[in-house]
Symmetry: C2
Subunit: 346 residues, 2 copies
DNA sequence: GACATCACTGCAACCCCTTGCATTAATTGT
DNA sequence: ACAATTAATGCAAGGGGTTGCAGTGATGTC
């Protein structure tokens, strides 16, 4: 039904190649012809078929962006940043949501493959080998993951976790729970690895709880375990879980931070609105989105560019952490009076 | 670099049409040949090029979904519902974000046009005529908008606004502000139209403030105007604005609901976490997502299906509304003790 | 044993567009 | 005035697939 290049050619009495050039290389066609062709095209409502064009040129000017859960406030800033960076290079971003499902994830990469110039795989849940295989089908940049020689943007959550734990031990906590994320999450493994390393110093006892759903419900679900285990502090895989956990603790009659201190990771905007405000490890999500787009686009021009971008995280101390209970400390200590106290990573 | 159908044909010694059938109509090819072809394909890492296939078949099994702001928690439930409904029909959803920009919106529809079987246009900001024009380039379903004969899914926010205002007048408010949304928003116009109709009964005075950015900042920005105007109640275009407004009022020293009552629209999850919890008009976002996908897919099979789906909204009374100030009422009245009181629309 | 039927497979046109090359006409240089 | 450019356009071969039609051999029917 929509007009094709042939219709326009017929209407304006020129060969289709002339119509084609009118749109993709206007300087090659005489100004008179060009205006006539444009007029016909306009009147017929003709638009070049981008899919057909891409079939030949190999460029779509689209970028796919796959996230584990679009409802997680962690992602929007990343997506927005990627979008504006992409727009700067005349590209569009298509977002797809995997629902934390590795199978859906694979499916989506394949669905996007030939419709985009490359895919940004954010916090993927699938296996390394599958990622490597897919990277042979479509240019890939992974975010929050390290796999083989694939371009990656990672955040040093390991360091963030260390900062968080040191903050907690500094407050006198000696029994700390680590609430991990979903199976397949590289970030979760990194955090765990880092936490176990820190724990090996012997300054506190670490209890690992997981894997869990990385949502508020997931956090809420472990509240009971934390209570039973008698831990006085918790580091959660992300803010959403930390917030859910705080709710759960509250409904169990435990106060935060008087009875239990809670630290999240991500620093989503919501973490500033909870009561108490959440202490958390801030991750540079916008920077990650920009960097990922840049890597993908650069990777097209010259091969072998920077294979990995590392971004630093920092600890944002708010009100959900305080001195360990059962100590002679004079009650909850409040940080971050008007603004936030930020301990920058080295 | 990736293998094409020709490579597989050569490797397995058959014609490309046989390879094609092996993947798109396996029952038409002999089981021996088929397995041989599949083996070759597997070994070469061949995947049918979906873009090329779509060029002929006209079907991509993808659906585009365009939203005004992916960071607005209003959208994720809609997106998720659309996704699961789409998956049920073997389709994938690609989401694009317009940043509340009508020009970007148009651009994105065109970018998606030939990569998808249709586009769900959620809360569009562009003009009716442009929407009609675009609908000739790609099948369209609009959500939260009525335009010409284009399939639409709308929510009766007009009724919701009426419920909210009646709730407020019932509490004795006689000076109410309506904080509208962005220019170009059909929903905002509907709310305004409805509010003005209700106001014409003379039971209260309505002050319209807007247009505004439909974000927390947008809400925060009008707090001062509300204070100066002396309104005792506000109906905001959406929850995000209502929440921003509450913050703004708080920092101006006004209490909610004692000094000012606030009602939002959407019932995003966040509205249950604020303090006080937000009274709001709940919109059936998930149902809208499902309905939109259904309409798009049905529209393909037989023409002239239901041209419009209307969804009902309801008022959820929480803690951000109370009796009007400067009355002899005995202080803030609390509704919704453990659960929420829901006043269903007729 | 002649003929219709059937299961496979190949052929070639086509989807919509781009692009290297050839062709033609107009312009420039000397 | 004639060769050499240059500008504008047409031609046709793709890009990676699908699909109606025809051809092949084998099987079934009576």
């Amino acid at each position: 039904m929509p007009a094709t290049i042939r219709d326009v050619a017929k209407a304006s009495g020129v060969h289709i190649s002339t119509v084609s050039r009118t749109f993709s290389a206007p300087h090659l066609v005489n100004v008179e012809t060009r205006t006539r062709v444009q007029a016909c095209a306009e009147q017929l409502g003709y638009r070049p078929n981008r899919a057909a064009r891409a079939l030949i040129t190999g460029r779509t000017f689209n970028i796919g962006l796959i996230v584990a859960d679009i409802a997680n406030p962690f992602f929007p800033p990343l997506i927005k940043a990627a979008e504006s960076q992409a727009r700067r290079h005349d590209h569009h971003i298509f977002v797809a949501d995997t629902n934390e499902d590795a199978v859906v994830e694979e499916d989506l990469v394949r669905a996007l493959a030939k419709q985009v110039d490359g895919v940004l795989l954010c916090s993927p849940r699938m296996s390394n080998s599958l990622i490597e295989q897919l990277s042979r089908e479509v240019p890939l940049v992974v975010v929050n993951r390290q796999v083989g020689g694939i371009p990656a943007v990672v955040m040093d959550v390991a360091h963030g976790a260390r900062l968080a734990l040191e903050h907690l031990t500094g407050l006198g906590h000696s029994s700390i729970a680590l609430v991990t994320g979903p199976r397949g999450s590289w970030t979760s493994r990194e955090i765990r690895r880092s936490a176990q390393t820190v724990a090996r110093t012997g300054s506190f006892e670490l209890t690992v709880i997981g894997p869990n759903q990385p949502t508020e419900d997931g956090g809420l679900a472990v509240a009971e375990q934390v209570r039973r285990g008698g831990m006085t502090a918790v580091l959660a895989y992300n803010d959403l879980m930390a917030i859910g956990l705080m709710e759960g603790l509250h409904s169990l009659g435990l106060r935060v931070p008087e009875d239990v201190s809670v630290v999240g990771i991500d620093d989503i905007t919501l973490s500033r609105l909870t009561r108490p405000k959440l202490t958390t490890v801030a991750t540079p999500t916008a920077a990650a989105g920009r960097a990922a787009v840049d890597m993908l686009l650069a990777h097209g021009d010259d091969r072998r560019t920077t294979a990995q971008v590392n971004l630093r995280t920092e600890l944002v101390i708010r009100d959900s952490t305080g001195p360990a209970a059962r100590r002679q400390s004079p009650g909850p200590q409040r940080h971050a009076d008007p603004g936030d106290v930020v301990a920058t990573a080295p």
